[in-house]
Subunit: 326 residues, 2 copies
């Protein structure tokens, strides 16, 4: 493996070449100027080999997932993405090809999301490969979405489809039988490659439609619980309203017990938001504008806790409310 | 050990209580507003148990060193410190008492430097305890110090004293014989607890005195090499001019071979800067104002490379130019 300075020069400095504030990664720190009238938005997530990704996951997908779970947090705040810094703790058996593929993944997503590397630190570790990424976005000052503003009677919406990521992990582990190869690949892709809903988050913030928002990473029920707790309310979800992809629908047909994975599994990286009932038409227009399904799955109500109701209106007991990252 | 949400609620949320943009650590991301006319400055450093700190180092000192090595980078840019985010990968054998002591260290330095926690991520690892911290400062837009602006003929200055940190590590390992307990404790303290020179960096930027600056973390010679390379120049240092603490002087008296540790050992976290010769009086006034010795140790010159000269003006051969963190 190359030394620290050679790794930076060969692999990481090119990722920072277009950002003047990165100083070619040759400075002590970087400079970031938010646009006039904007606030900086900051989020960080760490991933450890064997805990957050499979040891033989392709390095370029590991890089893109690490970046995208952070971008998803920026999306949940209504921010546009700007830049990131990266900490890598590399074990001795990691080879340069891994780093090259990891950097290829970063490059692909830098191009897709219009962001740049600003800085980082590369260290060695006797233990597991460990990655930490801190992402920066910007939002018009005072418009950042939070989890705490939902009101009783607000509708609850989710973007896209729910459960694909968690089902994808199970599919990769061979724990779902009877899936077509097409469905398996579609779910695995959603597990490996979250779609941060940046355009949606920015539009929600700009149009003032959402009273609360977050991205679904811990699981639909657990994350809705965060909105409910943060807003001092209860939330009620109609299970049959939760939007499913074609692949997820196929998996649930094969094994109806997987519904719990959909509701509680996490790794969705869709946005969940609350909006007043009189915004129905505006939400429909927004869905058109961002070319993304926005589905009403329930409503906020006075009280506490999250209830999920089946087709008959009876509460569904959930053994596992969500996934703790620790 | 507590779960992720309990760790956050009990230990980390109180560290973020005074920052409205941290949303009590209950949001997807944080909001950071630089003061009007200021740019955000960002730096990140990672530390791994057994690599960057001794496994039995007190947790509160580990926390403060992690924070301070980052603040030292902010100081090198002329920034004032504002906030930080933290990624922790905790092994299963770590107990809650370690986290409590770690948080005590963060609290102490938050109070000392007037900064707050903005966010973070806590994950589990099967490997070594791994810490990554990203620190945020702010600097008047356009005044950030860099490594690249030195000119031939500029004087080279360092703050404080050089070599204490590297000698402290050797002393802790029992590799320096004949030290008094007072000297050993003084050096160990400098190894454990860097003094980020924030007031000095801000004053250098505000007064426009430095043509280049950085903090000495890799070692005096290696870091001066970064300024020389970045500025397209050579640098010449008079070894006897390098300022030593009383404890370091005692160590070198006992073992003159330790001079190489002073010049190349790293972990100084003093600022090195270049300044035109006509600023001598202004630098002297600055040293008074920030109550910190600022010592001229040499000068920049046309050419390349770093030369260290002994009392007779002969070049000192240096086996080890600096410490790579990787």
């Amino acid at each position: 493996m190359l030394g620290e300075f050679d790794l930076i020069a060969r692999y990481f400095a090119p990722l920072a070449a277009s950002a003047p504030g990165a100083f070619g990664l040759s400075n002590d720190a970087a400079v970031l100027d938010p646009a006039p009238g904007y606030s900086v938005v900051v989020t960080t997530d760490a991933m450890v080999a064997g805990v957050h990704f499979l040891p033989d996951d392709p390095a370029n997908l590991v890089a893109r997932k690490l970046l995208r779970v952070n971008l998803s947090d920026l999306a949940a705040m209504g921010a546009r993405a700007r830049a990131y810094v990266l900490d890598l703790a590399l074990p001795p058996n990691l080879d340069e090809a891994w780093v090259a593929a990891f950097v290829d993944g970063l490059r692909a997503d830098q191009d897709e999301f219009g962001i740049t590397l600003l800085g980082g630190d590369t260290v060695k570790t006797p233990g597991a490969l460990t990655l930490a990424l801190t992402a920066f976005g910007e939002v018009p000052t005072g418009t950042a979405l939070t989890r705490t503003g939902a009101r009783a009677g607000d509708d609850i919406y989710v973007s896209g489809s729910i459960g694909d990521g968690a089902l994808g992990l199970k599919a990769l582990r061979g724990e779902i039988v009877g899936l077509t190869e097409t469905a398996r690949a579609a779910l695995a892709d959603r597990y490996h490659l979250p779609r941060p809903r940046l355009a949606l988050g920015q539009a929600l913030a700009a149009r003032g439609l959402a009273t609360a928002a977050l991205d679904i990473s811990d699981g639909l029920v657990a994350d809705l619980g965060h909105v409910a707790t943060g807003s001092g309310l209860a939330a009620e979800v109609e299970a049959q309203a939760v939007p499913l992809s074609t692949a997820a629908r196929a998996a649930l047909t094969a094994d109806p017990g997987l519904r719990e994975v959909v509701l509680g599994g996490g790794d969705d990286y869709e946005l969940l938001f609350a909006a007043p009932p009189d915004t129905v038409a505006a939400i429909a227009a927004l869905a058109e504008d961002v070319a993304l399904p926005l589905t009403r799955i329930g409503a906020m109500a006075a009280g506490t806790g999250v209830r999920v109701l089946d087709e008959a209106g009876a509460p569904i007991p959930l053994a596992k409310a969500g996934w703790s990252h620790f």
